[in-house]
C-alpha cells in the first residue's frame, strides 16, 4: 500500500517537473518579442474594434501608434482624454480637437411617399443598387437601417423611417458614413446643435411635392444668419461650423423646418456691476438683446438673448457671463 503512495507521489512529481522544465525551455525558444507599450495602449483604447481609425481593430491601431504611423487623435471613440493619455505615453504633442458626431441630413422617412413595394434584403446598399431609393426622394434616407447595423455603439435608431443619431452615444467613428449608400451622413462638431437636415438638391417645387420637411432652397436661412455662416450651394444651405454660434435663427426662419435646432434650453448672458456702459456689447449683439444708456450699466433683454456669446469676447471689463448650458434633445 505504501508503495502505491510512494510511486504516485514520485511519478507525478517527476512528470510535473519534466513538463514544467520542457515548457520553460519552449517558452524561451518561442518567445514573442513584443513592445509592452502596445499592450498598454491597447488597454487604454476603447476596445470597440470599430475600425474608424483605418486599422484592423484596436490592436492594429496600437501597433501603428507605437510605430509612429498613426496619431492618437485618429481614435474618435476614445475621445480627447484617451488620445491625450496616449500622446503622453508616447511622448507626442497634445493637440486640441473638438469631438464630432455623425448627423443624418434627412428628416423625411415615412413622410415621403414610398415608390415601390420592396421585399428584398434589408440593406440600404442593396436597395440603392436596385432602385436608387425606397422613397420618392432620390436624396433622402432609405430607412432600412444599414447604418444602424454597422454602428458599433448602438447610437443610431430608426425613428419614423429615418435614421437618427443619438449625440450622447455617438463617438464619431464614421462607420455609418462609409455604410450609407446615399452619403447623407456627415460628421459635425458635437457642440454645434443647429444642423441642416436635408440633402435634396432638387428645385423647390419638386421637393415640396414629395416632402414637407425638405429644403426648398429658398435661402432664407442664409439671409437671416447673423454671422453669415450659411452659404447656398446647389439649392442646399451649408453651415460653416467655424462661424456658427448655435443661435438657431435659421432653424426658426426655415419655412419647411429642414434645419434642426437641438438646443433645448438656451443660456442667457448676464452683465454684472463691472459694466462701464461702453456699449461694445450692444454693438456686437445681433439680436438687439442688450439695452442701456452710454456710461450706465447695460441690461440684457432675456427674451431676445439666445446665448450665442458674441458679447463675451468684446467686453473690455469681462463683465458678461453666461448662465445655463447648451442642452441637447435627442431625436428632435
Amino acid at each position: 500500500m505504501s508503495g502505491v503512495v510512494l510511486y504516485s507521489v514520485i511519478s507525478l512529481t517527476v512528470m510535473g517537473a519534466a513538463f514544467g522544465f520542457g515548457l520553460a525551455l519552449a517558452a524561451r525558444k518561442f518567445a514573442v518579442e513584443r513592445d509592452e507599450r502596445v499592450d498598454r495602449i491597447e488597454d487604454m483604447l476603447p476596445g470597440a474594434n470599430c475600425g474608424g481609425c483605418g486599422y484592423g481593430g484596436c490592436i492594429g491601431f496600437a501597433r501603428a501608434l507605437v510605430e509612429g504611423k498613426a496619431s492618437p487623435y485618429d481614435c474618435s471613440p476614445g475621445g480627447v482624454e484617451t488620445a491625450n493619455a496616449i500622446a503622453e505615453l508616447l511622448g507626442l504633442e497634445k493637440i486640441e480637437k473638438t469631438p464630432t458626431v455623425a448627423m443624418v441630413a434627412c428628416r423625411g422617412g415615412n413622410r415621403v411617399p414610398i415608390k415601390m413595394k420592396y421585399a428584398g434584403l434589408r440593406s440600404c446598399t442593396a436597395l440603392a443598387l436596385l432602385a436608387d431609393n425606397l422613397h420618392e426622394c432620390s436624396y433622402g434616407c432609405i430607412g432600412l437601417g444599414t447604418c444602424v447595423d454597422v454602428c458599433p455603439f448602438d447610437a443610431i435608431r430608426l425613428v419614423d423611417g429615418v435614421a437618427v443619431v443619438d449625440d450622447d452615444k455617438c463617438t464619431g467613428c464614421g462607420k455609418c458614413i462609409d455604410a450609407c449608400p446615399k452619403g447623407i451622413i456627415s460628421l459635425v462638431p458635437k457642440t454645434k446643435k443647429v444642423r441642416i437636415a436635408c440633402s435634396s438638391h432638387d428645385k423647390g417645387k419638386a421637393v415640396k411635392a414629395i416632402c414637407d420637411v425638405g429644403c426648398i432652397g429658398c435661402g432664407v436661412c442664409a439671409k437671416n444668419c447673423p454671422v453669415n455662416c450659411i452659404e447656398m450651394v446647389d439649392s442646399l444651405p451649408i453651415i460653416d461650423y467655424e462661424k456658427c454660434i448655435n443661435c438657431g435663427i435659421c432653424a426658426a426662419k426655415c419655412p419647411t423646418k429642414s434645419i434642426v435646432d437641438r438646443v433645448v434650453t438656451r443660456p442667457k448672458v448676464f452683465i454684472d456691476s463691472q459694466c462701464t456702459g461702453c456699449g461694445e456689447c450692444k454693438k456686437v449683439c445681433k439680436f438687439k438683446a442688450i439695452e442701456g444708456e452710454p456710461g450706465e450699466r447695460h441690461k440684457v433683454i432675456r427674451d431676445r438673448c439666445i446665448g450665442c456669446g458674441l458679447c463675451l469676447d468684446v467686453c473690455p471689463e469681462k463683465a458678461i457671463s453666461v448662465a445655463g448650458a447648451l442642452g441637447h434633445q435627442p431625436g428632435k
Binding site: Y7, S8, M15, F19, A26, A27
Partner: protein
C-alpha cells in the same frame, strides 16, 4: 499490422463515433469557434495536433509509468497534466508562427486544455486496449472528426449569417438547432461498422 483494423478505427472515429456529434465531447469550441471557416480550420488543426500528441504521450505514460507501478488510478490527473502541457506548447508555437490565427482562436486555444474531447481520446485509447499504432490512428482520426464537424458547422453558420432567421432564433439558438440536426444526420453512419 492489420491495415483493415486501422482503417476501421479511423472511419469509426471520424464518422461513426464522431467525437462532437455522436459522443458530445468538446462542444465548447464546437459552438465557440465555428463562426468563420478560417478560424475553425485553425482550431481543427490545433485540436488534431494536440489529440495525436496526447495519444502518443499518454500511451507511453500509461504503459510505461502507471501500469508497471500499479497506479492506474492516477490516469485522469496524469493525462490532464500531459494535455495541459501540450496545449501550452501549441499555444506558444501558434503565437510565434501565426499571430492572426492566435488572435482568432482567442480564449478557445487555452480551453483545449479542459476540452473533454482530448481527454476522451486518451481515455478511450486505454479502455479499448489499443496498440501504439492504433492509438496514434485513433487520436489523429478523432482530430479529423472534430475538424470535420467544426468545418461543417462553420460553413453552415457563415451562410446563416445572411439567412433570414426569426429575431428570437438569431445567433446561438439557431446554432444549437443546427448542431442537433447535424448530430441526427451523423446518426445515419451508425451501423456502418461494428463498434
Amino acid at each position: 499490422m492489420d491495415v483493415g483494423r486501422l482503417f476501421a478505427i479511423a472511419i469509426g472515429a471520424i464518422l461513426i463515433n464522431n467525437f462532437v456529434l455522436k459522443r458530445f465531447l468538446g462542444l465548447c469550441p464546437f459552438l465557440g469557434v465555428s463562426k468563420q471557416l478560417d478560424s475553425a480550420l485553425g482550431m481543427g488543426f490545433a485540436v488534431m495536433f494536440v489529440m495525436t500528441m496526447a495519444s502518443i504521450v499518454t500511451f507511453g505514460i500509461y504503459h510505461y509509468v502507471l501500469e508497471p507501478y500499479n497506479i492506474e488510478y492516477l490516469r485522469t490527473i496524469a493525462f490532464i497534466l500531459v494535455i495541459a502541457t501540450l496545449v501550452q506548447f501549441v499555444e506558444m508555437v501558434i503565437e510565434k508562427t501565426s499571430p492572426t490565427l492566435y488572435r482568432s482562436l482567442g480564449i478557445y486555444l487555452p480551453l483545449i486544455t479542459t476540452n473533454c474531447a482530448v481527454l476522451g481520446v486518451a481515455v478511450l485509447n486505454i479502455d479499448k486496449s489499443y496498440s501504439f499504432i492504433e492509438t496514434v490512428t485513433h487520436g489523429f482520426s478523432a482530430g479529423i472528426g472534430f475538424t470535420l464537424a467544426l468545418l461543417l458547422m462553420a460553413g453552415i453558420r457563415e451562410r446563416l449569417e445572411l439567412a433570414d432567421i426569426p429575431q428570437s432564433l438569431k445567433g446561438v439558438p439557431i446554432a444549437f438547432i443546427v448542431a442537433g440536426l447535424m448530430s441526427i444526420a451523423f446518426l445515419g453512419f451508425a451501423g456502418l461498422a461494428a463498434e
